[in-house]
Structure formats: C-alpha cells, structure tokens
C-alpha cells in the first residue's frame, strides 16, 4: 500500500504545483500585464485589465488596445514607449471602428505573434503599414482609393496571362492540374504579398520556365 500512497502523494503535489503555476502565469505573467503595468497617465498607473474595441456592425472585437493602450478609447498615456502612442488622425474614428478592418491581423488575440498574425494558421497577417490603404477596398469598392489603378492593372494581367488556370486566388481558379487528374494543384496565391515581396521572385520564376524541359510552366512574358 505504501507504493500507492507515495503515488498519490507525489502526483497530487505535482498537480497542485502545476495548477498554481498555470493560475499565476495566467493572471500575472502575460506580456500585456507588464506593458499595462508600466503605462502612466496624469492620475498615475492605469488599471491592468483586458481592453478591447467592439464594433457590432463589423462583428469585430479587437483586443489590440490591450497592448497598444495609447490607442484605447479615452486613455492619455504619458510614457513614450511604442505601444503607448495614440493613433494618428485618420478619416475613421479608431475608438469605435477597431483596428483589424484596416490593418489585418488577428484582433481576438492577446499575444504579439498571434495578434500580428505571424503564426502558422492565421491567413491574414497584418499588412505592412504602407499598404494599409489596400483595405479601403474591403468596404468601399466603388471609391477611388489610392493606387486603384495599379491594383486593377495587376488584376487584369492575372486574367490575361491565364494564371487562374493553375493557381487559385480567393477561391477562384486552380482547376488545371499539370500532372493530370492526380497532379498537384498550383500553389494558392490568395495571401501572396501579405508578408512582403521578394523583388527577384518573378525573374526566378521565369527562369524556371526557361530551364524546364516540360512541366507545368506555360509560356508567359519573360519566358522563351
């Protein structure tokens, strides 16, 4: 019976220790606890709590302001760390509009990598700041957003060169499989460019076409 008693004692102590560890890390040790702990207003430290901007119309709850406390509605943070900065003035009221509609990323998340969308299973990472205008088109399709011309040129080129035959883009295309029925589908291009571009990629891709004896590459500009 002694063996069983020791098993019970040691397992119970282990469980207790791990549960306490989980409770402590959950309630005190998250990244945003430290960030909010340093933030100061004129009246002193701020409440350390989860913050979010809820936009019922867009069905979004963006928790970005849990770390970016300077952008939380009604907060005037004095410290000059990066996350304490207020949002610059834009056409929308950021306090009600939320963040991810324009910036992308994962609004529900409360940890940096997850929130910025730099994780494996989040398909919409944050747009680089200079491309934020690309999101205007999400709601304002008919309006003349900046760089609309570039965008539509690219779209037409994609159609004209028949990229859709092998590649899928936002659920369209990708029906032709170079290897036949059982062949591999062309890579899905829906999210290409969201994490920046390799400027030489196109040249390299065209070079593959030149080198290939057979295979999936169709003739396109830059090819032979």
């Amino acid at each position: 019976m002694k063996k069983n008693k020791y098993l019970l004692l040691i397992s119970s102590l282990g469980v207790l220790a791990l549960l306490v560890a989980a409770a402590v890390s959950e309630n005190f040790l998250k990244e945003w606890h430290a960030i909010q702990g340093q933030a100061r207003t004129q009246e002193g430290p701020i409440d350390v709590r989860l913050r979010q901007i809820v936009n019922p119309d867009l069905k979004k709850a963006d928790r970005c302001v849990t770390c970016h406390v300077g952008m939380a509605p009604g907060e005037q943070i004095l410290s000059d760390s990066k996350v304490a900065q207020p949002h610059k003035n834009v056409v929308h009221d950021t306090a009600t509009m939320g963040c991810t509609t324009c910036h992308g990323g994962q609004g529900q998340a409360t940890e940096k990598d997850d929130a910025h969308g730099n994780v494996h299973f989040w398909t919409e990472p944050m747009l680089p700041a200079k491309y934020a205008y690309a999101s205007c088109g999400t709601c304002h399709t008919p309006l003349n957003v900046p760089n609309l011309e570039t965008l539509s040129t690219a779209r037409k080129t994609f159609e004209r060169l028949d990229c859709y035959s092998c590649h899928r883009l936002d659920g369209r295309g990708g029906t032709l499989r170079p290897g036949g029925e059982t062949g591999m589908e062309g890579p899905d291009l829906s999210h290409v460019g969201l994490k920046g571009y390799n400027q030489n990629w196109y040249t390299a891709h065209a070079q593959k076409n030149v080198e290939a004896q057979g295979g999936p590459w169709r003739r396109f500009q830059g090819g032979q």
Binding site: M1, K5, S11, V15, A23, Q108, F121, G171, M184
Partner: protein, 515 residues
C-alpha cells in the same frame, strides 16, 4: 421561566453546537473506517463505492495485474467531463461562431487554453488507455467465463469512447476538424463501392444513408455541427456513464478480477504493509450465500489473501486518478491543442487526415474504401466480440500472456505481425498496387485484393497455424490479436507520419511542400 423550558433551551443550544458532527454521523452511518466491519460498511454504505467489493484480493492489487489501465481510462473520462463542462460555458455550437468562441477560449477566458489543452490530452489518453486496457483484458484471458458479458460491455465502451472523441473533433470548426470529419463521413459512405459495382446504388444506397444520418445533410455544415455537439456533450457521455456503471458493477458480480486457480499459493499478505485481516468476528452474516445461485463461496480456503478495499484499493485508485491528472496537465503545459484556420469548404486540406486512431483505416481506405471503412473493421469487431464464446479453455486465466504458447508465441506473433504489415505496405508504396499495374482492372478486384485484405489473410493464416501447432483456440486468438495490434500500429504510424499531399509517401513532413 420554569425548569422544563430552560432545559429545552439548553437542549436546543447543545443540538445546535453538535450540528456539524451530527451531519457527519448522518452521512457516514458506519462510523470511521477503523475496524474490519466499519471498513466494509464504509464501502457498501456508499452509493458510489459500493460498486466495489468490500474486500480486494492481493493478486489484483499488484501493479502488474492491470497496470491501472481501467482506472486511467476512468480518470481520463472524469477529467474530460470536468474540463468539458467548463468549456461548454463559452463554446457556441454554430459554424464560424464556434471557431471564434474557441479563439476567445484560447485568448481571453482565464486558463481557457489550459483547460482546452487538458481536455484534448485527456481525450487522447482515454483512447490510448482504453485500447491498452482491452489488450490487458485480452492477454490475461479475463474475458473467459464468468466475465464474457463484461467483455461485451467493454467492447461497447471502446466504440463509445472512439465515437466521443470523433464527435469532439468537429467542434472547433477549423480546417483540421472540417476535413477530418469529411473524411470520416466519406468512410461511412464506403459501402457505395460495393453497391456501385453491383449497380444497385440507385435502389439501395446504404452508404449514402449512413453518411446522411451522420451529417444530417449532404456535406459537413451547421446540421452536422449541432448533431455532433449534441452527441458529444449529452448522448454519448450518458451512454458511456451507464455502460461504465454496469462494467464496474459486473467486476464485483463476476468475482473481482480474473485470477489464476492457484492464486492463493502465490501471494501472501505482508503483515507490515497491510491492515490485519479478519481481526474481529464479522457481524454481518452471509447466510444469503446459501440461496444465491452460482459457485459455492470459498469453502475450505480462507479469505486470508483479501484485504479491506477501504483503504487498500482506494489508495491505489486515487493514486492512479491523480497520476493520470498529472500526466494530462503536464502534456497540456508542453503542447497546445491544435487550432488551424477557420473551416473553409472551398479549400480542401491536402492531405486531409481523419483523427489519428482512424489513420490506420484511412491507409487501407486509400486502396479500398469499403474494406478499410467497413469490411476489415467489422471483421475485427465481430472477432473481438466472439472471443469469449470461442475460447472456452481454462489454462492461463488471470496471467499475462496466459495459455498455450504464452509469451513466446506473443513475441513471435509480434515479429510476424510487424514484418508482414511493413512488407506489404513497402510493396504497395514502392511498386504501387493493382491499379498502377493494370489500369483497367475492375474496382471490385481491388476491393477483394488490397494491402488491407492481404495483411488480414496473412494474419489469419498465421493464427490458424498457431491454433493447430498448440492445438488450442487460445493460442490462435493470442496470435491473431497480437498480429492485428501490430498491424494497427504500423498502419497508424504510416498514415500519421509518412503520408503527405495526395496520400503519397514521404519520409518526413518537411518534404511535403513540393513547390
């Protein structure tokens, strides 16, 4: 104020003070479990504990007797029950919203991610433990008379456990869930392979019906989600709890765990380790034994090798319960439960894989949907269910690998089981199968001759050889069970780790990305 009144007030005060001890005494009528009699009444006076026998044989208390696998399974179930109820407070069973709610559980529900991790790990521990528990019961020949019915109940518990795990798989509504259930539903549809070949699908579409009953629709959608949710949180747990109650109660009614005939010569109570046994005259008489049917209660051989279940058995059970909890919590710390992208019916996962315990079947399904999905599993199922009625021998009951052939036969069966399944799979992977050699071959031929059926036939042949060699059904069963266990492991490992996009063979998932 007169005398009587004062004493009533006094009495009231005394009663009030003794309320806690009165409640305690009302709850535990037998008193503290310090003597043999009170230890017994502690067990049979408690609705939950009285599923146990009041005394436990020392043979059953040895760690090697059961490895605690049944209790590990029960403990894992209790853990999933507690964490599952907690998750239900936040989970919303509707497509897309379900995914958002899991994200919320992950990110803002206090310890939500931790609880989900524990739930997921406990579920996996439960599946593994229930399989090992079945193997234990088989290898110790515990299915034999009078335990045939309990083996049956265990058989039902295995199916219910797999169904619980499978229904839970869909709930996060991510790509992993969506496509795994799609695969599962396609496996349910696999009888079509036969009805198509016979040209009767139009009139008799049992496969299509199975799929539709499972999904509630022609594809995985909101009807499927609500259906799986209801099964997962209510119907299946209730079924499981009821079967478990019967399972435990039958252990007691069948005379405890299976033991060798000469068990009393093999174990001896250690006076230092164990509470002294039968120190007092039992106040409860067992006259009833005279009118109860069945085998005579132990006459001539004393009960000296049993010890009171309270505390001996309960320390063991609590110890295993806490140990299982510890394992699940450690795993939950080490590894997060997966959550992929939001389910998207337009973007199939490639490869789409069923939950891991079905990947062995999926490996055969890749050749023949019917054989992998229905044929071979049914054969195993029926075989398992019939064992107690085919093996009526008595040699080796209660002992590991007991019976003719014994551990040596099991060892050889393992070698044969691994070698055959690996060899057949290697041929199929390296040289292809009938479809690659004869492109025009009818599917019905592949249904009959595919790696799954070939392995099954080879195993059956080996089992018949063992049966004749040792002139014993038990030897045949030992060989067959061991072989199938090895085949299950081989196919599951190949399906899990070595199959990539388009179900092609890859040495490592790192090679998956062909582009």
């Amino acid at each position: 104020m007169d005398e009587a009144n004062r004493s009533a007030l006094n009495e009231f005060w005394v009663n009030l003070k003794s309320v806690p001890s009165q409640i305690y005494r009302a709850m535990f009528r037998g008193g503290a479990p310090v003597s043999d009699r009170t230890r017994s009444s502690f067990v049979f006076g408690n609705v939950f504990l009285h599923l146990h026998s009041v005394r436990t044989h020392l043979w059953s208390l040895r760690w090697t007797a059961t490895m605690g696998l049944g209790i590990i399974t029960t403990a894992a179930f209790l853990i999933t029950l507690v964490t599952g109820v907690l998750l239900m407070f936040y989970y919303k069973p509707y497509p897309d919203v379900a995914y958002q709610s899991i994200k919320d559980i992950h990110f803002i529900v206090p310890t939500g991610r931790f609880m989900r991790n524990i739930h997921r790990w406990a579920a996996n521990v439960m599946v593994v433990a229930v399989l090992l528990h079945m193997a234990r019961a088989f290898y110790t020949a515990s299915y034999r008379k009078p335990r045939e019915f309990n083996w049956f109940i265990g058989w039902g518990l295995l199916v219910t456990t797999l169904a619980l795990s499978f229904t839970g798989y869909l709930l996060p509504w991510d790509q992993l869930a969506y496509w795994a259930i799609t695969i599962g539903a396609n496996i349910a549809q696999s009888p079509r392979e036969i009805t198509d070949a016979m040209g009767i699908t139009e009139f008799f579409d049992i496969g299509g019906l199975q799929r539709e009953v499972l999904l509630g629709s022609d594809k995985v959608g909101e009807e499927s989600l609500i259906r799986f949710y209801l099964l997962h949180v209510m119907i299946l747990p209730l079924v499981l709890a009821m079967l478990m109650a019967v399972h435990f109660w039958r252990i007691r009614k069948d005379g405890g765990l299976a033991k060798p005939v000469d068990v009393d010569d093999r174990v001896k109570a250690d006076a230092e380790e164990h509470y002294p046994v039968f120190t007092e005259e039992p106040q409860k008489t067992y006259q009833l034994a005279a009118v109860v049917k069945g085998r005579t209660p132990a006459v001539g051989s004393g009960p000296e090798n049993t010890v009171p279940s309270m505390p001996h058995l309960f320390y063991a059970e609590l110890g295993v319960l806490m140990f299982t909890t510890l394992i699940c919590i450690v795993l939950a710390f080490v590894s997060d439960a997966p959550l992929k992208e939001l389910a998207n019916p337009l973007v199939p996962e490639n490869p789409a894989k069923a939950p891991w315990y079905f990947l062995g079947l999926q490996e055969i399904v890749a050749f023949s949907a019917f054989m992998g999905g229905i044929g071979i599993p049914m054969l195993c199922w029926i075989g398992l269910g019939l064992i107690p009625f085919l093996d009526k021998e008595t040699e080796g009951t209660g002992e590991w690998f007991g019976g003719p052939g014994g551990a040596k036969l099991v060892g050889w069966s393992m070698i044969y089981g691994f070698a055959t399944s690996i060899a057949v799979e290697a041929v199929a992977i390296r040289f292809g199968w009938l479809r690659e050699w004869f492109p025009d071959i009818p599917q019905l031929v592949i249904t009959l001759v595919n790696p799954g059926t070939v392995i099954t036939v080879l195993y059956a042949g080996f089992s018949i050889w063992a049966l004749r060699r040792f002139n014993s059904t038990r030897a045949g069963a030992l060989a067959l069970f061991t072989c199938f266990l090895c085949g299950f492991i081989v196919l599951t490992v190949i399906g899990t780790y070595f199959r990539g996009p388009n179900w092609e063979f890859f040495w490592s998932p790192a090679d998956w990305n062909a582009h």
